[in-house]
């Protein structure tokens, strides 16, 4: 799971985990957090990466062994949309990703915020339609209310099990 800092990655992970071991307080992640949880028969090992500029170089180290990528975008942070796009381009061009058919789930998070951009606008701004060799989907979510998360993760689970069958 990648995305700029403050986009809501850790908040989303804590929602996905069963209620019992939810992290009570969410602080900016340092380095990365490794979270294990089960969601509808699928056992996830989630690498919740830190999104701070000085830590983003760590992302690419985990590209090789990942089965899918969740890219979280703060849709209310219009200023850094271009930065997120830049990071996505770096990700797509990375040799450990570019040739592989890894599914990418885009979460346009913080849709509850008033100035948030719609998922369609973000997809356009990012030029997502140009991604032809990988399955992808974008969902507007809110980690505060949990809205949209269900659909997103269901699509993701489906993609992961499909690619598992193919192998």
């Amino acid at each position: 799971m990648v995305g700029l800092n403050n986009s809501g990655k850790s908040t989303i992970v804590s929602l996905l985990k069963s209620d019992g071991d939810r992290n009570s307080e969410i602080v900016p992640t340092i380095g990365l957090n490794i979270e294990h949880f089960r969601y509808q028969q699928v056992l996830f090992t989630m690498f919740d990466m830190s999104g701070q500029g000085k830590n983003r170089y760590l992302w690419e180290r985990y590209y090789k062994n990942c089965d899918g990528i969740i890219f979280v975008i703060d849709s209310s942070d219009r200023l850094r949309l271009a930065v997120a796009k830049e990071e996505l381009n770096l990700l797509l061009q990375h040799p450990d990703i570019s040739g592989r058919k890894v599914p990418i789930l885009f979460l346009a998070n913080k849709m509850d915020v008033r100035e948030a951009l719609s998922s369609v606008k973000i997809a356009n701004a990012f030029g997502l339609e140009k991604i032809k060799d990988k399955p992808w989907h974008i969902f507007a979510t809110s980690a505060l209310t949990g809205e949209g998360l269900q659909n997103g993760i269901e699509w993701f689970t489906e993609q992961l099990s499909q690619s598992d069958l193919n192998n």
Binding site: L4, N6, G53, D77, R78, L79, R80, A82, V83, E86
Partner: protein
């Protein structure tokens, strides 16, 4: 593709946002970034001059304007400081305008602080108290201004002298009460951390005034905690360090002098040949961007490290600290267009812009660490964010063709010829003789020059001087004759004084009765005739040269004397 093998030419900046309709007009001194609300989301604070009609204080969050407050007067500087150490660490906005420092917190007026006015000379107070007619008052004040300098007069006196005569009467009757105080005008403002180097620490505010003072104001109590009298008006300053521990303040004076202030000790650094536009300190080195399109670097002792030519007149310079790249760049924006980034003296990148950038600021903005925010001449707000993968290298290929780095300028040194070697050998062996020969030739040349000068004086009959006309007449046939010299001042502007007429002649032939004739003050256009008697000594006709002199020869004329041979016999 990893970051190392990316092409160097790649733009290290992400153009995150640009708003051509922002219509912002401001100076870099009125542009600042700060975590105003203590929510880790840095805001942009702008003192917008608004076409000079209505100044406003504007706060931007991300890409949108979130607060706007009217300002009654035009701001000189806008800074953000923490005024206390209470949690949450909400920052205050400081607006310097005229003699006042307005403090805002949570976008509401919070405090108004005024720089104390200066007492004026008792003489001036007396003048104001005793003289009531406007004409007389203006006259006496004018004399006083000549005596002690206009800038040392109190503000009412200055206003009175500058206003049109018709308004004076009214002004005097309304202003009679508050004379003798000179309002301060703040010229520049900077901030300095008080206790620790943390970004969230309380900062003291340094205020320089038009009356050559420097005040240090503590925002915790809004009092002046230190005051310095400077040798001149400070128009630019830069502060580093911690006020209560150790700090260095660099002051650029209006005369072009640089001073440093370290632990209350003011020290002269150097005198620049030109005026500084902007001032920075990067790792103990002072960098100045100057009005003669150069950028120079000095140490604190005034030793110059380098000067480079800038492609254009600089408007502002700001530091771009990039600790993760171990770099501290300097960004300079120019009066025509573009922003150049320098690492020390080498150009590392040119940000091409369509129009001149009038103000810029670099720092944390929103969630981003490295944001460069610029405002162009048309009022366009532009936000650039530094890429995570950005690299700057000193061998940046410049687009300007004739840019040569100073250490790359090659001198055309010819090869050492045989002749040169022989000559240098001889110079070493016979240095004494060569030196004395040189001196000999030098003196010789000086003698020759003097001789030809004297020659020239004698041989030149009329030294061209348009302002003076000379007519010489000789009356009589001898042995007694009279020479009349008529001088006329043709110049309207010059009144020649202390001129004398004298004569160069052969004493064997003539005796001149009054060899030096004083010339009175000559009024324009009127001919003055000066006469003297001459007696011939022998029966030979000769010449007499009439010379007009002051401290040097002004004019000369030669007269052929009549042949008096027959008469003498």
């Amino acid at each position: 593709m990893s970051s190392a093998d990316r092409p160097k030419e790649e733009n290290p900046w992400i153009d995150a946002y640009s708003d051509p309709k922002a219509d912002l007009q401001t100076f870099s001194t009125c542009l600042t970034l700060s975590d105003l609300n203590a929510d880790d989301d840095h805001k942009l604070v702008i003192g917008d001059i608004g076409n000079g009609i209505q100044s406003k204080l504007k706060v931007f969050k991300g890409t949108s304007l979130t607060a706007e407050l009217p300002l009654l007067t035009q701001p000189t500087a806008v800074k953000c400081v923490h005024t206390d150490r209470n949690e949450p660490r909400v920052a205050g906005i400081i607006v310097a305008t005229g003699a006042n420092v307005l403090v805002y917190r949570n976008c509401r007026p919070y405090f108004k602080f005024s720089v104390p006015p200066q007492e004026c000379s008792g003489l001036e107070v007396e003048i104001w108290n005793e003289i009531s007619t406007s004409e007389q008052l203006v006259k006496v004040l004018k004399d006083l201004s000549m005596e002690m300098g206009f800038s040392n007069l109190s503000s009412p006196s200055q206003n009175l002298l500058l206003m049109s005569p018709s308004h004076r009467e009214e002004y005097i009757s309304s202003k009679l009460h508050c004379v003798a105080k000179k309002q301060m005008v703040i010229t520049c403002v900077t901030t300095l951390n008080k206790y620790a180097s943390s970004e969230r620490d309380v900062s003291v505010v340094l205020l320089a005034t038009e009356s050559s003072q420097l005040f240090i104001m503590d925002p915790e109590t809004f009092t002046i905690i230190n005051e310095f009298q400077l040798p001149d008006v400070c128009c630019n300053m830069y502060a580093t360090g911690i006020y209560l521990v150790e700090y260095t303040l660099i002051l650029a004076m209006r005369s072009g002098a640089l001073y440093s202030l370290r632990i209350k000790h003011l020290k002269f650094i150097t005198q620049l040949m030109t005026h500084t536009v902007s001032l920075l300190m990067v790792s103990h080195k002072i960098i100045t961007a100057n009005m003669d399109s150069t950028m120079s670097c000095y140490n604190l002792k005034g030793r110059k490290y380098w000067t480079i030519n800038l492609p254009d007149n600089p408007l502002y310079m700001t530091g771009i600290p990039l600790p993760n790249l171990a770099l501290h760049l300097t960004a300079v924006c120019f009066s025509r267009a573009n922003i150049n980034l320098y690492n020390d003296s080498s150009l590392v990148y040119v940000i091409a812009t369509q129009e001149p950038i009038h103000s810029m600021v670099f720092g944390k903005y929103g969630q981003e660490e490295h944001a460069l925010i610029t405002i162009a001449s048309s009022g366009t707000l532009d936000i650039k964010l530094l890429k995570r993968t950005a690299q700057f290298s000193n061998d940046y290929k410049t687009v300007q063709k004739n840019y040569v780095k100073p250490h790359e300028i090659k001198f055309l040194v010819p090869k050492k010829s045989k002749l040169f070697l022989e000559q240098s050998l001889r110079e070493r062996q016979k240095c004494k003789e060569m030196h004395s020969w040189f001196n000999h030739s030098w003196t010789n040349m000086k003698v020759q020059v003097s001789e030809s000068y004297i020659d020239a004086l004698h041989s030149a009959n009329v030294v061209q001087n348009e302002a003076l006309r000379i007519i010489v007449e000789v009356f009589g046939l001898g042995p007694r004759m009279k020479i009349r010299t008529v001088l006329q001042n043709m110049s309207q502007n010059i009144m020649p004084m202390n001129y004398k007429v004298t004569f160069i002649y052969d004493a064997k032939l003539y005796k001149i009765h009054q060899p030096v004739v004083k010339v009175p003050l000559m009024v324009h256009g009127i001919p003055y005739s000066l006469e003297t008697l001459v007696t011939c000594q022998t029966a030979v006709a000769g010449v007499v040269q009439v010379v007009v002199v002051s401290t040097k020869v002004i004019l000369s004329a030669t007269v052929n004397m009549p042949d008096s041979a027959g008469i003498l016999e």
